[in-house]
Structure formats: C-alpha cells, structure tokens
Subunit: 155 residues, 2 copies
DNA sequence: CTTAAAATCACCCGAAAGTATGACCGCGAT
DNA sequence: ATCGCGGTCATACTTTCGGGTGATTTTAAG
C-alpha cells in the first residue's frame, strides 16, 4: 500500500512512456516503408512529444510561486497621545457623567456593563445616553462614538 | 510599440517554432536517406518536442502569487493616512462584504442604513454582521468597531 | 465540471438600545 | 429659599440588534 501510493506517479510515468514507445513502434511499422508519409509521421511524433512535455511539466514542476513583498507601516502603540478637545466639550455642554458614559460606550461596553462599572442602574445610563445623544445630535451609540472621536472628545 | 509588447510572447513562440522546423528539416536532409539512422532521428525529434512542451507549459502556466507582508514600524505624524492591516484581515478571514459592513458600522450607521447604502436587504446586513461578530469574537457592533480600529481594519 | 466559499434573503424570537415622561435628591447661585 | 442643573432612578413603550436556522444564488478555485 505504502509502496504503491509513494511511487504512484513514477509508475504512471513509466506506463505512459511505455505506451508512447509502443505507439511509435506501431506507427513505424505501418508507415516507415513509405517515404512520402515521412512528414506526417514526424508531425505526429512531434505533436505526441510536445503533449508529453506539457504533461510532464504540468505534473512534475513544483508550482511557480511569485512572491510579492509589501512593506506596511505599522503604528507604534504610544505614538500619539490623546488630547481632549475642551473647546468642543464646552460647546456641546457635556457633563462629566455624560462624557464618562461616552468613553465607555467607545470601548464597546453595553449599557448594562456601563451601569455595573459606574455602580448605577441601567435606567440611569439610558438617561445619560439619551441626554448625550440629544446634545451631540445623534441617535445611535455608534454615531456618538464616531462623532466623539472626530471631535476629539475620546481617544 | 504597443503592438510589439502586446504580442511579444506570440512572436517569440512563432520564431521558436520556425527555428524548430528548420532544425527538423536540416536533420531530415542529413539523415533521412539512411534508414538505419531512423531511430536516432526519431529520438532527437522526440526529445526536441518534449523540451518544447515543457517550455510551453512553463511559459503558459500562470504563476501562483504569494503575498508576503512585512510589517515595518514607523513613527508617524499626527495626520496619518490609514493603512489596512492585511495580516489581521487574513487572520480573521473577513470577506470583502463583511469588512465593508464593519466600516459602515464604524461610521455610526444603523443596519437599515447600511442595507440602503449597499442596496441589499436588512436581513443580509444582519447575516453579514453576525458572521462578522463571530469571526471577530465580539457580540456588539460597538465592540466590533473598537476591535476593528485597534487591529487596523478600519481608520 | 464539481466543490467550496461568499453573498443574498427570509422568518422568528429574545435581548439590548433608545424614547418619553415623571420623580427625587443635593448643591451652588441668585 | 428657591430655582436650575446634574445625577439618580423608574415605568412603559417602540425600535433596533443579535442569535439561530435554513435556503438560494453567485463566484472562485480546484
């Protein structure tokens, strides 16, 4: 079993070669005596072996690998430190608590998780977020986060 | 100029074929009269065309392209353009559509708005986002956005 | 041609988010 | 003192999200 599978390809090649040689011989016997058929014979041989070459190449060649190297710039973690945009904060008139809620929202926390983290009730967070959305003129937390980042309210 | 570069390969093949035919003719003239040289002649032809086949196969096969991403650490200025982290994208195995949905999520759009923007149904967006959350191992869109930004998948 | 992955859409259900409204407390400014 | 505001909480209701499942079609790869 192991032998067969290991040398399967080699055996196949062997058989194929034997077959081709047989075919050549057969053609030779039939046509070699008539000299005017020579060109046809040569043509067939040529075609046959061109095909064999293609087949061998396709089977044997390890796939050509073209390596494309892309140099990518990667941010260093502490490269840009965040500076809060106090002007915007003042303009929007956000309270401390509201900003706090916004920051936690930006970290991907749910209202319940924010409530737990700040030791207040879920409804309180809902109230805060509603206030927040009103002041920022958005209607979804994802929008609030986007706007907050754009305005420099959160990192 | 355009013509030459466009058909370079074809022209090369043509020249090569012509050369081979010439060589065959040459051999033919020299050896065809002596019948006992026949086998040698056939052998040479066979070899020649096997080589041609291999050459054609090697030329014709389209190379497999392997992309290697080299991460280069670079300290960048505050106003930096976004570079997608393809390594992470590949690691997470996100599809084009999934990444697209993630980007729109990050802009604060609702599923319905994303659906409208991409001209597909709400359900499709839900499916995409569910796939997305699974691959990113998160359970909320805000988390997905946060993680996406952290990993450099979105600006 | 066949298989696998991606993309599309649907339906259901429960959870989370968001809206609206009202209430209570504490604290500083008028 | 009282008025306004920030912070807290609640109830009730609507909308959006997210999970689960299944199906069809399109596209890519072998």
């Amino acid at each position: 079993m192991t032998f067969l599978s290991r040398y399967k390809q080699t055996i196949l090649y062997g058989i194929a070669l034997a077959a081709i040689i047989f075919i050549i011989r057969w053609f030779e016997i039939r046509y070699v005596l008539a000299d005017d058929q020579m060109d046809t014979y040569i043509g067939i041989i040529a075609l046959l072996f061109t095909g064999l070459g293609i087949w061998i190449a396709a089977k044997l060649r390890r796939p050509k690998v073209e390596t494309v190297i892309i140099e990518k710039e990667v941010r260093l973690s502490p490269s840009t430190e965040f500076v809060l945009n106090e002007a915007e904060l003042k303009r929007l008139n956000l309270s401390k608590r509201e900003l706090e809620v916004l920051q936690l929202m930006a970290e991907g926390l749910s209202n319940q998780e924010i409530a737990d983290k700040l030791f207040v009730s879920l409804n309180t967070i809902k109230t805060h977020s509603a206030q927040l959305f009103g002041k920022m003129d958005v209607r979804r937390r994802t929008q609030a986060v986007e706007t907050g980042k754009r305005l420099g309210l959160i990192p």
